[in-house]
């Protein structure tokens, strides 16, 4: 189900090896303000490689957090949730539905409900709220 090429940890390991042989060191030392430099032709023998750092967000505790962890973080960082403001339940239901119907996330209907429950606890708002201000 999961393509090996898209597993970030495998990518991470592979790129560690590749990076030793490539020109990243030279490239990354270019200072900012490169906009004013004269044009350079891209060297066509060049291999470019980077290693992606990860900055996982702290995962908020809540009911069914393990279901959230397993089903949601398979494809994306928990920052997709932690960066959001509070939203009413209908917004979170739509988001979870989108993950399943549009992105093909393999989440059972039962688990979808559990995940919505989790999201409403950690990032929920009453339907009539302007969702930007959490209730005190």
């Amino acid at each position: 189900m999961i393509r090996s090429t898209s597993n970030p940890r495998i990518i991470f390991s592979i790129t560690i090896l590749v990076i030793l042989t490539v020109s990243i060191a030279v490239y990354s030392q270019q200072p900012s303000g490169s906009a004013s430099k004269p044009a350079v032709q891209t060297d066509v023998s060049q291999v470019q490689s980077i290693v992606l750092p990860e900055y996982p967000a702290e995962i908020a505790e809540g009911p069914h957090v393990n279901t959230y962890r397993r089903d949601c973080l398979l494809c994306h960082t928990s920052r997709y949730v932690s960066m959001q403001p509070r939203f009413p339940k209908t917004v979170w239901q739509n988001e979870v539905k989108k993950m399943v119907e549009a992105y093909g996330a393999p989440i059972s209907e039962a688990d979808q409900s559990l995940i919505v429950e989790y999201l409403v606890v950690v990032k929920g708002a009453a339907p009539s709220d302007t969702p930007s201000v959490p209730p005190k």
């Binding site: 189900m1 999961i2 393509r3 090429t5 898209s6 970030p8 990518i11 592979i14 790129t15 590749v18 490539v22 990243i24 490239y27 990354s28 270019q30 200072p31 900012s32 303000g33 490169s34 906009a35 004013s36 044009a39 350079v40 032709q41 891209t42 066509v44 023998s45 060049q46 291999v47 470019q48 490689s49 980077i50 290693v51 992606l52 750092p53 990860e54 900055y55 996982p56 398979l74 494809c75 994306h76 960082t77 920052r79 997709y80 960066m83 403001p85 939203f87 917004v91 549009a102 992105y103 093909g104 996330a105 393999p106 990032k123 709220d129 302007t130 969702p131 930007s132 201000v133 959490p134």
Partner: protein, 413 residues
């Protein structure tokens, strides 16, 4: 968004008004830290829970504001917008699926042109650079969701402040020339565009966009291999990306690897469901009455923002300050930028910076000496070369295409 008439202020309404003011202040500030603008306004309420914004350093990039790390979405701090061109290492980053390209070998890399063509092509970087006339232009690259975090009510999605855009000089081959070399067949209606990024699951749709064939062949859409005179950073689409001048960057497919001539419109989540706006010029609707018809987001409307003053700048009575910012549109250039220091009652012209072309943003500035202590609402509005102006207020469910007149509340001591 102008807050001239509020009904009775119950507590919730009052809080949401504060949040709105805070958001507006942040529209022109580098960091949306609750503490910064709440202290500027003299209130202790943090306006959103998305306040904490962390600076991180990715390969080939300088310190940028982290939205997400997998896939990466990184925002440019606002102070970089004091230059005409945004440095490559400070340029914002936005990918859609987690399998992003991290290694590209130019010996192996090929751009495929296929589908409804007579001559399918497989072009190396050397082919692109040597077989097609190089062209160059300055164009603003802006995410459809730039400024999303300032909409009220909030919209789900990347909670960008003002830094999901950058202005760069792009060099590359015309898409038209490449399509002509492949001899696009009669009956072609669109081109489909894909990059090297790979979705995490087999069932997840590949990030793929399309352009109408006439647009693709307008001679301005470019396959860019240089950005500000350098190779593109990996996170900005090395080795080549599409440049669609005047259009939102959702079409500027990064690490472009496949162009397909289509005799039917492309059917994909990324055209049919995502990146759609209400079918009216201001991309406007209200939560209670969502627009029944939506269209794919397209050309950028005219818009202007403040870049200065910045959060650390304390304004004092009787001292002269330079107010400055940037304005852009979708291809007619900027004719005029006006600034108000009294909440929109009176407006005066600012001076415009260098004209780098009709697809570039234009910097503006004006000086202001606050006459007395107190609170001031600064506002900015632009007029494009075709006479297009900005709306006073705006909202849509996805937080796209923000082009309303922005304001910045400052306290003078």
């Amino acid at each position: 968004m102008p807050t001239g008439h509020f009904g009775p202020l119950d507590r919730r309404r009052f809080l949401s008004m504060l949040a709105s003011l805070g958001g507006l202040a942040a529209a022109s500030r580098t960091f949306a830290h609750g503490s910064e603008f709440s202290s500027a306004l003299g209130f202790a309420t943090a306006p959103t829970e998305t306040a904490a914004r962390q600076l991180v350093r990715y390969p080939q990039k300088t310190d940028l504001i982290l939205l997400t790390d997998r896939p990466p979405q990184l925002e440019t701090p606002l102070h970089y917008f004091q230059s005409d061109l945004t440095p490559n290492d400070a340029f914002f980053v936005r990918w859609h699926v987690s399998g992003i390209p991290t290694t590209v070998d130019l010996q192996e890399f090929r751009l495929g042109i296929g589908g409804h063509v007579r001559e399918p092509l497989s072009l190396s970087m050397k082919d692109l650079q040597s077989k097609f006339e190089p062209v160059s232009l300055v164009a603003l690259c802006q995410c459809a969701g730039n400024f999303r975090s300032f909409f009220e009510p909030k919209a789900p999605g990347g909670q960008w402040a003002s830094g999901a855009m950058g202005n760069a000089r792009w060099k590359g081959a015309r898409l038209k020339d490449v399509l002509d070399a492949a001899e696009v067949l009669p009956g072609t209606v669109q081109v489909g565009l894909r990059g090297l990024d790979v979705p995490p699951l087999e069932k997840t749709p590949h990030f793929e966009k399309s352009l109408q064939i006439d647009h693709a062949r307008d001679g301005e859409v470019m396959i860019a291999y240089e950005m500000n005179g350098e190779p593109l950073p990996m996170l900005n689409g090395f080795p080549i990306r599409l440049v669609v001048p005047g259009w939102y960057s959702t079409y500027w497919v990064k690490a472009l690897s496949s162009i397909s001539a289509l005799d039917q419109p492309l059917k994909t989540f990324w055209m049919d469901k995502a990146y759609r706006i209400p079918d009216n010029t201001a991309a406007n609707e209200v939560p209670q009455h969502l627009s029944p018809v939506t269209v794919p987001i397209n050309r950028m409307p005219v818009h202007s923002i403040f870049v200065r003053p910045d959060p650390d700048e304390q304004l004092r009575t009787g001292q002269s300050y330079v107010l400055s910012g940037v304005a852009h549109d979708g291809g007619n250039g900027i004719r005029r930028v006006e600034v108000s220091q009294d909440g929109g009652q009176t407006w005066s012209d600012s001076s415009l910076g260098p004209d780098l072309g009709k697809y570039s943003w234009r910097r503006w500035q004006t000086s202001w000496t606050p006459p007395a202590k107190g609170s001031y609402r600064l506002m900015v509005r632009a007029t494009s070369g075709s006479g297009e102006i900005q709306p006073m207020a705006q909202w849509n469910r996805s937080g796209y295409q923000r082009d309303m007149i922005e304001h910045l509340d400052v306290v003078v001591v």
